[in-house]
Amino acid sequence: MSRRGPGIRLRLTLSYMAVLLIILLLLSIGIWYLMRDRVGMMVRAGLDAGYSTVETVIINSGGDIFDLRHLGDDELILVLMNGEPEYQTLGWDRAGLPVDRTGLGSGEYAGWTSADGRSYSIRKGTIPEYRYTLFYAKETTEAAAVPGELAAILVIAGIAAFALSLLGGYFLAGRALSPVREITEKARDISADNLSARLPVPHERDEIGSLASVFNDTLARLEQSFEKLRRFTADASHELRTPLTSIRSVGEVALRGPESADSYRESIQSMLEETGRLTRLTDDLLMLARGDAGSAGLRPVPVDLSGMVNGVIDEMKVLAEEKGQKISTGLRDGIMITADRSTLTLAISNVLHNAIMYTPEGGEITVETGISADGAYIEIVDSGPGIPEAERSKVFERFFRLDDARTRESGGSGLGLAIAKWAVEAAGGEIRFIDPGDRGSRCRITLRRAAS
């Protein structure tokens, strides 16, 4: 089991629950206070009504408190005159209410609990013209129980709601995350051996769907680079093993029998030739490997592009002369670019070398420099057999050979254009073969111009 899946699920549920708990608490406390106030208001309203009746009876009877008897014995009434009990109902006595409530001011309310646990609310007032102090009480045992009962209900209901939400939340979070689990399972199964597998995309447009799509794009690129790597490994082992095989077999054959000194010499020379080839190949591969690791060690400086191209042509023209080829140039002055001089020189000479190799004897090669909207450019056009359009980007791949039948003798290491591409890209430029028009092939290198 992956530890991350349930982790998110639990965290999600818990954070929901924390929010829910706060909401429930606030709601319950609000309801409780509101209800308690309402109950209190109702109790007081009842007391006020009873009190007014008693007060009216006393005033209407001209202060004769014994008229209160008509109200019945169940009413809870106490009348004091000058602090001494003047009248009290039977109910007052039965309830065991106190007769001395002098602590209450006029118009105030008080609560009282009897010895047997019943609650009473008392309203006190004065009737000044008869110097009466009037107490009117009502039993409020039920009303007093309301806040407590409400609290109990709220707590129980809250716990139930909380528990239900917890389960529901956990379930829903699990359901929402289930595509993630599915993707995780699937992704775990994808390795270098089945990179063509893709993740399920549940709903194209939601977050998880787009995550899966992005993953799939990454897998596609990964598959491509693995494929490239596989091909590269196969090519590299071929290129490395061929000279090794030669060295080994030439050495073994030479050792088989006594031969003339000249013959031994011949064998050793042949072995050294192959060693040289192997050394060159190793150097090229190391250069590319370092390039892959980043452009450390390169020193970009301002370079006069046409001057550099001219230098390369000067160096290489002997090769063209040997084949009776003509190199014509159209170099524009004053183009400054920023690049590592040595690697860019290498890139240009590799491309030019290719052009010379592919152009037949007596053919023509054109080298031009100029400025376009994209920056500075170099174009090297040859009059060789050309590159089919579908192969134009592949020629920069390591060990790629256009013509499989071509031998290593004329083809170099097969890394020249790969190195050129690395060097140009390290300088922030771009190299590609474009439509050659009526010529063989046309290589265009675009470079950033130096800020002047």
Binding site: D284, L319, N350, G416
Partner: protein
């Protein structure tokens, strides 16, 4: 001339000893850093060939300790590490030269010669090899008193071969010293071959004895004798 070779790889050490002894150098081999350091501090050598990746103490540490002890023997580093940083570290630690493995033996010999003759000036203004004469001041070349017309590049090439005459010169040496190329590459090798061919046709053709020889798999040599 006594050379100390500090190299742990037995095959390489043996090849170095044989190759150097054939050139009449006296050779002592140390297979570990400690042994090399001990020998270098107890005996007098004219040159130390130092491998960098040694068991025990690294070549750089040994070099630094030697220089701290005021040992002034020239040191030539032999190593497979060839980044610019590696070279700078090596030279900053007190090395006099730096050669990357796998190296061409003729190049090693050339550098050994250069380091052991350092401090001596034997500038030759006029080189004579058989009936070939090279005037380094006027840059004129004659073969059997007949003037040979050379381009600038061809003259530099011939001059370099003549200064190393009798010794093999590799393409690596030519690429670095004549073309001053940072990296060696296939195009340049082909260019060098063309120049050698042209030089040969100008100075060797129509003369009985060939002076410029190709050593297959190694390089070129300017010599009166057949190699």
């Amino acid at each position: 001339m006594h050379i100390l070779v500090v190299e742990d790889e037995k095959k390489v050490a043996r090849a170095l000893r044989q190759g150097l002894e054939r050139e009449k150098y006296q050779v002592t081999v140390a297979h570990t850093g400690e042994e090399g350091f001990f020998l270098a501090t107890t005996q007098a050598f004219d040159l130390i060939l130092l491998d960098l990746m040694l068991p025990g103490r690294s070549g750089i540490e040994i070099l630094q300790s030697l220089r701290e002890k005021r040992c002034q023997t020239p040191v030539l580093i032999l190593t497979a590490r060839d980044t610019v940083d590696d070279r700078v570290t090596g030279l900053d630690s007190g090395a006099d030269d730096y050669l990357v493995k796998p190296f061409a033996f003729p190049e090693l010999l050339a550098r050994v010669r250069a380091l052991t003759r350092r401090g001596r000036t034997d500038d030759v203004l006029r080189i004579r090899i058989g009936d070939l004469e090279i005037d380094r001041v006027t840059r004129r070349v004659t073969r059997a008193d007949e003037e040979v017309q050379l381009t600038g590049r061809e003259f530099e090439l011939l001059e370099y071969l003549a200064l190393n005459h009798g010794q093999t010169v590799t393409r690596e040496m030519l690429a670095r010293d004549i073309w001053r190329a940072g990296q060696r590459a296939t195009p340049l090798d082909n260019v060098i071959d063309v120049h050698i061919t042209r030089l040969r046709s100008k100075m060797d053709a129509d003369h009985g004895r060939r002076l410029l020889h190709t050593i297959r798999g190694v390089g070129f040599v300017l010599s009166e004798e057949e190699p």
